[in-house]
């Protein structure tokens, strides 16, 4: 576990040096520029970018220009790193929690329909041409957030509609009869089904909206759904963190109760776990955090599904270890995927001779392409162990 933390810290430190700008600014240069450490002329003598007048010495002006450029590179890249960290932690943690809460290894943070609702919200905003920004954050993000929350609310409203009047219990269940999720007579499987249904509904609505949209709008939503970590607004960190932090705290502190929950509703309740409160609290914080991720970055897939399994293969299924481990591995994973998304286009450009270095591969594409081989390797390793 300590290895994980160290690895993550190392990734965060190295990250500002990785990116789409030219190789002139190595990672140590950008840190020195940002931290105000001295950069001397001798360090820069062989860099063509600096020696403008070709006289093999570096003037104070050129030095100053170099420092400023390096610092601005840092200011572009470091927020990406922090965002990747936050998103990775959130998605992996929520994925681990949902896999436990739904008692289903295929559960993801988007299982209740947050991604579908978010995408629909974003599409509506695009179609209606909402381009304004509040606090620097585009209205599109608010629309996506609202869409995600609305879908989850509807899923639970559907569940409540089937409350049984009278006794709040069912006959003691035999094996094969799934345990209840919300103490309202709705099983975990039924909630999953409701989430999938709402997801399909949102897809249908999106198709409807696309039919009446222009080509440019359609491409905009397709591109949005691939996910993006590109910087958007200066204040977004302040808005995102209060939405994500409760999830981090609540889910990790619930680890013990979640362990009990895995033994079944009855044993957990008999040991003093308030099952419906646990489910409600976890779903609430996870929904807020995931909706925030979708609103900011689009639906980045695969992280919430696979990272918890990878963590479990290494650390076992004790939630007290699995949850923090998933968070750390998720953060590290997404930072690495971000590097890949920035470098992939540069690599492609180098291969084909075209200048593609300034664009990035959408993060959602990278998480899938990078994640699958890793997962397959670990799965095989486990089988041979």
């Amino acid at each position: 576990m300590g290895v994980c933390v160290a690895l993550l810290a190392a990734l965060v430190l190295v990250s500002p040096g990785v990116g789409t700008a030219s190789a002139t600014y190595g990672w140590w240069d950008v840190w020195r520029a940002k931290l105000g450490l001295d950069i001397r002329g001798d360090d820069l003598v062989d860099r063509p970018l600096v020696d403008i007048d070709g006289d093999a010495t570096v003037s104070a002006q050129e030095l100053d220009g170099f420092v400023r450029a390096a610092r601005s590179i840092f200011d572009q890249r470091f927020p990406r790193t922090l965002l990747a960290l936050q998103v990775g932690i959130t998605l992996a943690l929520c994925g681990a929690a949902f896999q436990t809460l739904f008692r289903n290894p295929l559960a993801t943070p988007y299982t209740l329909g947050i991604a579908s609702g978010g995408s629909l919200g974003a599409l509506v905003a695009i179609r209606l041409g909402w381009r304004a920004a509040i606090l620097g954050i585009p209205v599109l993000a608010f629309a996506a957030f609202a869409g995600g929350i609305a879908v989850v609310a509807m899923v639970f409203a559907l569940g409540r509609g089937s409350i049984r009047r009278g006794a709040h219990a069912k006959p003691p269940h035999a094996p094969g009869h799934p345990p209840t999720m919300s103490g309202r007579g709705l099983t975990s499987n039924e909630l999953l089904l409701a989430g999938v249904t709402m997801g399909l509904f949102c897809s249908a609505m999106m198709m409807l909206v696309t039919v009446i949209s222009s080509q440019r709008e359609t491409f905009a939503i397709v591109r949005w759904m691939m996910g993006s970590l590109d910087p958007v607004a200066p204040l977004e960190g302040a808005v995102l963190l209060p939405l994500m932090l409760p999830a981090w705290v609540v889910l990790i502190l619930s680890a013990r109760a979640l362990n009990q929950y895995r033994l079944g509703d009855e044993i957990a309740a008999s040991r003093g776990v308030r099952v419906s409160r646990l489910q409600g609290a976890c779903v609430l914080v996870a929904t807020l955090a995931t909706a925030a991720v979708v609103a900011r970055c689009g639906p980045v897939g695969f992280v919430g599904l696979v990272v918890p399994h990878v963590a479990a293969l290494i650390f076992g299924r004790d939630s007290r270890i699995l949850m923090p481990a998933s968070a750390l591995i998720g953060g590290a994973f997404l930072i690495i995927c971000d590097w890949a998304s920035q470098l992939a286009m540069r690599f492609a450009g180098w291969l084909t001779g075209q200048h593609l270095a300034s664009s990035t591969l959408p993060i959602g594409v990278v998480t899938a392409l990078v994640g699958v081989p890793i997962f397959l390797v670990l799965l095989r390793a486990r089988r041979h162990a």
Binding site: P171, P172, R256, L263, E266, I267, A269, S270, G272, R274
Partner: protein, 265 residues
């Protein structure tokens, strides 16, 4: 310790399913709940555990009613072992048993040394210490059932409620579990309520028996009063007789007459 006063309970489809039932379980008593399928034994057990709330009547634990006792207090006093506890969990067996210490937990996420000691004792008692480092999923059904019983023992409750705890166990371990429970009752003052189909083990190891039929108490008393052919036969719907050892002074075994069972249902 546990008092039930004219308790009634029902489901949406059957509002008068259970009750009225009144009984008292005192420390050191070992109760058996017997009766045909669907008689309400598991339901009654869950009412005792606080998993269900009666539609009328009162349940008191150490004098405090359901609403007054805190969830954690109840968890410290009452352990519940359901009939179908999960057996395919990929958790180490020792951890599953230590999880029984949850109601007594201190602040902090991890268990203490004394918790693990208590867990190991419980494992030894049920004969599952050899599995301590294995995953629960690798155990057979009966071995896993003994692990869950060990977890309940580790909980160190005042009252243990077990729903058919011997259903998957082999002959030796069936007797062993009843013997363990009776010894705990006699020595530590543990109160035990066991739902079981084995009327003879119940008769040998339990101090009190409640026979249930269609949600009502058909008979309540000592094993001599209840575990008798004339009492059981009308309830179970099959003719029964007592077989005794030649020259034996013990109570013998109450068994159903096979030919009677072969009749169409």
């Amino acid at each position: 310790m546990l008092e039930m006063e004219t308790v009634r309970f029902g489901y949406a489809e059957q509002p008068d399913f259970l009750g009225p039932i009144s009984l008292q379980v005192r420390p050191g008593e070992c109760w058996a709940l017997v009766g045909p399928n669907g008689a309400g034994k598991s339901t009654l057990l869950r009412l005792m555990a606080g998993l269900y709330i009666p539609s009328s009547g009162e349940i008191r634990i150490f004098g405090k009613t359901n609403t007054l006792i805190s969830l954690r207090d109840r968890a410290r006093r009452i352990a519940f072992v359901p009939q179908h506890a999960p057996v395919d969990l990929d958790f180490p067996v020792r951890e599953v048993v230590v999880m029984g210490r949850f109601p007594h937990r201190s602040l902090g996420l991890f268990d203490s040394q004394s918790d693990y000691r208590i867990a190991d004792n419980a494992l030894a008692t049920t004969g599952t210490l050899e599995f301590a480092n294995r995953s629960l999923a690798t155990l057979s059904g009966g071995e896993a059932q003994r692990v869950h019983i060990a977890a309940a023992l580790a909980q160190e409750p005042n009252l243990m409620l077990l729903d058919e705890p011997t259903s998957s166990l082999d002959l030796r371990h069936q007797i062993a579990i009843f013997a363990i429970l009776r010894r705990r009752a006699d020595v530590d003052g543990l109160a035990v309520v066991v739902v079981t189909h084995d009327v003879n083990l119940a008769a040998r190891y339990c101090s009190n028996v409640l026979l249930m039929h269609e949600g009502r108490a058909a008979a309540m008393g000592t094993p001599d009063d209840v575990i008798a052919p004339e009492v059981l036969a009308p309830v179970y719907g099959v003719a029964m007789e007592t077989l005794t050892r030649a020259g034996g002074a013990d109570r013998g075994w109450v068994v159903p007459i096979d030919e009677a069972c072969a009749e169409p249902l």
